[in-house]
Subunit: 329 residues, 2 copies
């Protein structure tokens, strides 16, 4: 266990304190575990709210800010501390409604359903979009159906831009659904991650092997193989995505690190991803390379493609000002 | 060896190809190993050039763009492929001169000296600033004097902003020197890193121990100890910096990950760094948390403080548009 922590019990609270200090442009409520855009609620605008277990940073807290999320709720939530109780009515809803972006993990789904009921009881309009972009497996350890992984970034960015433009709730929701329907991911683990609570690797992956189709919680993937080259991994991952997505137009590509894979290697992997896409005749409109949807100290990578039309690409390019994604104006 | 690569020999070239694909706003010359701001040379403006061994990404290639570097030269350079031969005269010098930002490692110093001679032979004005911010040790494995680490980011950002404003070479150079004189770093390794060429950890750090005062190449630090908490590491690292810096005004803090330490832990560590600084009466004007000056897949962190006056803080806040640092307009 090589962790830069005090004790496992305070890891999330400590991180929120550190985030508050580094980002005065956000409101961080450490006790209630919520990161909120400082100017929320923003009059007339739909508020996107996401959350789920910690350990996938910068997802979701690093995506809070103008043009993306209004609030993120890291860590588990119990009935008493349900995210919407804190960040919905009182913090982010301007009257235009709230869109929950929910990764398809059973616990997340239940928590956000409960949160939606509570918010609706308070008279708040709530819509939900379930992100299930991972083509690797169906019905895995924590999920019925497909898992939600890298596609979450596309949903939050693109629907967040629609909300920022002032689109009404139904419209923001339909954009979010459209992005999810057009996004597919495939991930590969070169090592397991170690959670603070457990203190040892969450699964056993022998040196010299990799796991194809891994989720972001170390759930089993499709198969385990002897170590492959960057070129072979790109062929496998991109083909797995394209088998399901079959884009007829350009895509935005996310070449994502799982946390411990160096940026030098991720860029090299991106070269291979671009090669496969070119060979398959898929035009790439934009590419984002980096550690965005992670699994603590897991080595590995994932590829997410989102097929974009003119509108979705315009919303992708729209200004965003968050700790982890930042461009435009 | 859990690397996402093809073969060690092509790692840097592969990464540059991947970088080119992801960043059309940069000109990446894969063969000559140089990353250049696309609009270079920019009329009337001093061009900052940096470089050195790869494996510290996003340093330096990720810092190329308006408001920071004009060019970065990753990888080693031989006489035949000296960085300035390619990126100086022909690529970045507008006639206003070039400032080399050189981390104090013997090889880097020699290469940039040779490059400066060649450029001057071609009639280009060259100034150099040597970055030597690391307080941990003097005269280490690859260095005479102090090593250059996290302070490089401050020098490149702040002097880059001065250049962007149109300051003349002597002024940009003096700003760079001032930033270096006011910047101090201390790093800690929780694990060794593995270089593609070697394929095994660069040094031996037993589980349950950490190395205090590590450099960014796995050079020996001050001492090895049994694992410490985030709180204890922050006390040690910040006090080591403050013993040398003794700031009378506010600082900008860089809480940097060495590559494989999760952002969740880095933010938690930042909370402890801020606590120590508050206890020592040092006001913090700005804080940057993330993996910026790395050592491949090394777990660990470093703290860099830069004492700022009004001008340096204004230049820090000035707009920057690079792959890794991006804010303002």
């Amino acid at each position: 266990m090589r962790m830069l922590i005090n004790v496992p019990e305070t890891v999330v609270a400590d991180a929120l304190r550190g985030m508050a200090a580094a980002h005065p442009e956000l409101t961080v409520d450490v006790e209630r575990r919520v990161v909120v855009r400082r100017d929320a609620p923003v009059a007339g605008k739909v508020a996107l709210v996401s959350g789920g277990g910690s350990g996938h940073e910068p997802l979701h807290g690093g995506f809070v800010g103008p043009g993306m999320l209004a609030a993120a709720c890291p860590g588990r939530c119990s009935r008493r501390r349900c995210p919407i109780r804190w960040c919905g009515p009182r913090r982010v809803d301007s009257g235009a409604g709230v869109l929950f972006v929910v990764k398809n993990y059973t616990g997340d789904v239940l928590n956000f359903e409960m949160a939606a009921e509570l918010a609706e009881d308070e008279g708040i309009q709530v819509a939900k979009v379930l992100v299930d972009d991972d083509v690797a497996v169906t019905d895995s350890l924590y999920t019925a159906g497909r898992r939600g992984t890298g596609g979450t970034l596309f949903v939050e960015k693109i629907a967040g831009a629609a909300a920022e433009e002032g689109a009404p709730l139904e419209r923001v929701e339909s954009v979010a659904r459209r992005v999810n329907e057009r996004s597919r991911s495939f991930g590969v683990a070169l090592s397991a991650c170690t959670t603070p609570a457990k203190g040892s690797p969450t699964f056993d992956l022998p040196e010299g092997e990799l796991e194809l189709g891994i989720g972001i919680h170390g759930e089993p993937g499709r198969e385990r193989r002897a170590m492959m080259t960057s070129r072979e991994i790109a062929d496998f991952a991109v083909d797995a995505v394209l088998e399901d997505l079959r884009p007829s137009g350009p895509v935005v590509a996310l070449v994502n690190g799982m946390g411990a894979t160096p940026l030098l290697e991720l860029y090299g992997f991106n070269a291979e991803v671009q090669r496969v896409l070119a060979e398959r005749g898929v035009p790439v409109a934009r590419t984002l390379v980096g550690n965005y949807v992670t699994s603590l100290d897991m080595a590995g990578c994932s590829v997410t493609l989102c097929e974009v039309d003119e509108e979705l690409l315009r919303l992708w390019d729209a200004p965003v000002q968050t700790p982890a994604l930042r461009w435009g104006r």
